[in-house]
Symmetry: C2
Subunit: 520 residues, 2 copies
């Protein structure tokens, strides 16, 4: 039994024409889709319905949800600023369950292993399905075909786009806030559960019908900075604890110790330098993974040697970027997410460490965004194929285990570099065709492995730029063949059924690929 | 000939049922109007139509206007951050005129004497009419019935409400920016034409179809702080000068030297103290007029004597508020408008001096706003009547000479104080009935004159609070009678026709009163 109709999209991928009852537009190529219409608009409210003294506190989440008119089939959103230490999203969904509602759509900006109990709520019928990153256990549950409805994976920018364009209508946004006042002004940069920026909740606060702020650190009005504005908030709930601080941010982030991965990081840094990207006033983005951190350290040394200063670096911010800022190697950190204690302290105190949101950085349906202005971006992938297509969602066995994050959005950098080991757990990372297409190869410029650097043939300018350098530039097919030679052949194809369990959205809201239920 | 139909509203005022072709809702009392529907939503845009390198510069305003699709009958907005030094609004309208378009609606947040040449553009047909504060010469032009269309005066919060609710659709917003980058991020706190906050342009940047930033101080991306976000901006135009710095902000703001007005200021401060409003963690708002400044200085001395610290003060910010902040007498300045050089320097450098917008502070169609959370507010008026109704728009001769500013919005403070001389230029300020109703008496709590303090009889709590104090508390009728005794009678009624030239909107978008054409 298969209730779906399918169509082949511009990437040659088979995608459903309808997802969770809504007609879809198949992917039409990079820049191929032209949106129409106007943005989503929330209801007009009036001050007469809100307390003049600004005190919007209610005793608990149940009360807040009831006052928001909670009922069956609503969409409830939450956010992953508290990462695997979050206690609020689950509490909100459980409170909804205790109020007896069914068939909710949960719309997190990302889910973590701490949200595994949502599986029980799905089994009980409280939650119908999830649209959002499904990392770890929730991803596996989805892959095994156990979720009603299809998972919908969106990039951080795609989540903004979906909310802004009205693809997703949020009935109630529940925002966990490390600091807030009774009016609902809130930030993530202060308090015992400080997490840095609250950028992922911004769209929800603007576009949702109802907004609840949950905090364990209530301060007198005005709470500053107001990353979330109380003028968009309906109710404020005080709780003892919104999360486990030790799981919200790392004490410190760690550079990889693997010699292979250090080599990859060094190659990336040398490429950025030798291609002429590392010049006065340049910019780069690297995440908080082990390779990315090592890259940043290598590049930093090269910048010091060359006497070069960046105009801005984009985080995922960590102690390493904070050191660059404090040592005068960059004018600004433009911070999308704050990963360790040093970065949390910096964003709370240094005006040159600036919180950003998916609106400024990633939303493709805006008047430009920051992502395309970053000179070089260094990303990872679970798989890369010979056409430079990238996969970050599924593993080679086909299991959905990761969200997209900002990965798709970052591809619009003029120099997108995937820094990946050629082999991971004895499984080749370079493949003939990615299991799941998360990013089209035409936007991926360079693949750096411990066995060499492959430059996308489309980027003749980059090929020319590093000509004559000592970097091991090689065709991607050659690196792939070398790995297969060592491993003893190509990786096994995953066993998949023809039943879709999730879709991968492109940055413009079109359907880029399908995740299929795992076979036996 | 009179093409209007009229209705009597809940304040007993006669107002037109239609204004500039749009059906109106008459004022229904404070909190009487229930809005419905959804907010205004601008068109969905896509990054593919904007330069990937973020450089949105075009050579001049004409080019920008053409690229925005300028045509007859459009609405062009501008802002009054540069006050009487502004060179951008007029340049934009003149550029439109040179491109040959007609019948524009000009929608400034306020106009100043420097905009007098807009009269020529109205005479030529380029501008059809103005909706926005019409101070000085433009007000007189309107009062004399020379403008096609009706003037529509809105408070700062009412302007946000009108844009947000779709009452006014802005086709092209032209934002003069003291600092900007090529992407369109902009602020008013830096640069040779620094003016402080750009809060009045925020609504336009969010809701207008097209947004043009005009700057004389282009900086490399990212321009920080981004009070205006480049993600909302279509084009950036560089010009030699956006304004005359000496007319943008005062070098210094000056306390009144008039003994009568100093006495009024002292009475107000003593009232705030003796009524128990001046307590630890309180808040107040006072403008930049001579009486208000003197009040702030008196209150400051009382706060020092009593060892009391404010949680926040609201500006119109000046050197006097900046001193309070720097001396630890308040935790924060929440700044709506920046009036002198000391305040401009402070907002650029002190994170406790916080720019606000009409959204946070004044918009009545939000989920609350700051205005109702300010413990006491001190305002002026051109007339106050025995029912405590206030007029700030017309003079006793009926001429429209002033905008509303934040005046209406501030009335929602739990203690609204009008500090007014009982006599101004030998004309009584206290009258039987205000010429124009700008604010209903039920929201005005105290009227302070040099001849005594009148407390609104509705506010028994305030009457009780100052009982036994040495303050000259008197019935408003008694003060009024005393003045008329001295002057030799009541003021003459203005000579007005039955032809409307403008309307006064209430904070919720309903029509509170009509301004009538002056008689011969």
């Amino acid at each position: 039994m298969n209730e779906f109709e399918f169509i082949q999209n511009a990437a040659g991928r088979t995608v459903p024409t309808t997802v969770n009852g809504k007609a879809q537009t198949p992917y039409q190529g990079v820049g191929g889709f032209e949106p129409s219409g106007i943005k989503q608009a929330p209801p007009i409210r009036t001050c007469r319905d809100y307390p003049g003294d600004g005190d919007k506190r209610v005793p608990d989440l149940e009360t807040a949800l009831k006052k928001c008119g909670l009922r069956d089939g609503m969409t409830i959103s939450s956010h992953h600023h508290l990462r695997n230490g979050d206690k609020v999203a689950l509490k909100a969904l459980e409170a909804a369950g205790e109020l007896g509602v069914k068939d909710l759509m949960w719309f997190p900006s990302a889910s973590f292993p701490c949200h595994e109990p949502v599986i029980d709520l799905m089994d009980q019928g409280v939650v119908h399905h999830i649209e959002g990153s499904m990392n770890g256990p929730l991803g596996r549950y989805t892959s095994e075909g156990k979720m009603r409805g299809l998972g919908v994976l969106r990039s951080h920018g795609g989540r903004w786009q979906a909310i802004q364009d009205g693809d997703v209508h949020i009935d109630i946004a529940v925002i966990a806030a490390p600091t807030a006042d009774a009016f609902g002004n809130a930030n993530g940069s202060h308090g015992p559960s400080a997490c840095g920026s609250l950028g992922f909740a911004l769209a929800d606060s603007i576009y949702a019908d109802h907004v609840i702020v949950v905090t364990d650190n209530l301060v007198p009005f005005p709470c500053l900075p107001w990353q979330i504005q109380g003028n968009n908030v309906d109710f404020v709930v005080e709780v003892d604890s919104i999360g486990d601080p030790s799981k919200i941010v790392s004490g410190t982030t760690q550079i990889t110790k693997s010699p292979d991965r250090l080599l990859i990081a060094e190659y990336v840094a040398r490429f950025v330098r030798d291609a002429g990207i590392m010049r006065e006033g340049f910019s780069f983005q690297a995440g908080a993974g082990g390779i990315a951190l090592a890259f940043a350290q290598y590049l930093k040394e090269m910048m010091v040697d060359a006497g070069v200063k960046a105009r801005f670096v984009r985080g995922g911010s960590t102690q390493y970027l904070v050191e660059m800022l404090e040592q005068g190697l960059t004018d600004f950190i433009l911070d999308g997410q704050t990963f360790d204690l040093a970065a949390v302290e910096s964003i709370a105190s240094n005006p040159h460490h600036v919180p950003t949101s998916p609106f400024t950085s990633y939303n493709y349906h805006g008047k430009g965004n920051f992502a395309s202005m970053v000179d070089a971006v260094v990303l990872g992938a679970t798989e890369v194929d010979v056409n430079f297509n990238g996969n970050v969602n599924t593993h080679s066995d086909g299991a959905l285990l990761h969200g997209i994050g900002g990965w798709q959005n970052c591809l619009f950098s003029p120099c997108t570099i995937l820094a990946v080991p050629a082999v991971r757990d004895r499984i080749p990372v370079l493949v003939d065709e990615v299991t799941t297409l998360t990013g089209p190869g035409e936007l991926i410029d360079v693949v750096v492995t411990e066995r060499g650097i492959a430059i996308n043939p489309r980027r003749e300018d980059l090929i020319d730029a590093v000509e004559g350098s000592s970097l091991p530039i090689r065709p991607i097919e050659e690196i792939k063949a070398e790995v297969e030679e060592i491993i003893g052949g190509k990786p096994q194809k995953p066993k998949l059924t023809d039943r879709p369990v999730a879709v991968i959205k492109w940055v413009d809201g079109t359907v880029l690929d399908t995740v299929w239920q795992l076979g036996e």
